[in-house]
Symmetry: C2
Subunit: 139 residues, 2 copies
């Protein structure tokens, strides 16, 4: 055990691995359409990677974003690489909707409203197809 | 006027323009070492850009990150492209420190502590040199 949660565990629902990165669905409460692109190697900062490793990771981020946009027509996609708590490179790709619990604020602040169950369930019924489309697009 | 604040204004302290993107210092309270890489064209989503336009923008993001790491030795760099309020592509590049008002939380939530004046001022005295180093690195 390395004391890093992204070295010791997958970090979500595993979808695929490619070019030193893995793609997982984050399984975050109230945000079903939330994916992560996680470096296999324990690096903290994006600029520590080689240009080739960055391009490989960003290709996956863009691919996930494209599938989310095509399948869900979200109001906005949010991308972020933070890593303050877990300093192991990972990109968040989050489909945002006007009805979601934080919109238009970032997901990391206090919620502005309860997440409406009907809309969440409508997304959840599409998750299997979404996961498959991401694997098909990126694998 | 276009009704978009990033079409109608620079969006910060202007540093340089390159390949369809501009680099500004964000001038956010309590976060002196906070820069933005802003698309000149009014596009909402990262995956709407051509691969060449994305690469040009990401080169600037990485360059700003490299300068921040070299000059300030931050605890972490945070990168994000959100745009829920202003759907005009812009990347946030934020140097994070253990002493800052939100660390280790993202900067968009409630502060965990007041930002300590001495440390803020120590960063502020370096801003001119930081701005120059960014322009030298990227121009």
């Amino acid at each position: 055990m390395s004391n890093c949660s992204l070295c010791d565990s997958v970090g979500g629902f595993w979808l695929l691995e490619k070019n030193g990165w893995r793609v997982v669905r984050a399984q975050e409460e109230n945000y079903p359409a939330f994916y992560r692109v996680i470096s296999n190697s324990h690096m903290a900062e994006w600029s520590e990677l080689s240009p080739e490793a960055r391009a490989a990771g960003m290709d996956l981020v863009v691919g996930v974003e494209e599938v989310l946009r095509a399948q869900l027509q979200p109001r906005k996609i949010n991308l972020a690489s933070l890593g303050n708590v877990v300093p192991h490179l990972h990109w968040h790709i989050i489909a945002r909707f006007e009805w979601d619990s934080h919109f238009p604020a970032p997901v990391w602040g206090p919620p502005l409203r309860p997440a409406p169950l009907a809309q969440l369930q409508a997304i959840e019924t599409q998750l299997a197809a979404l996961d498959v489309a991401i694997v098909q697009r990126l694998a």
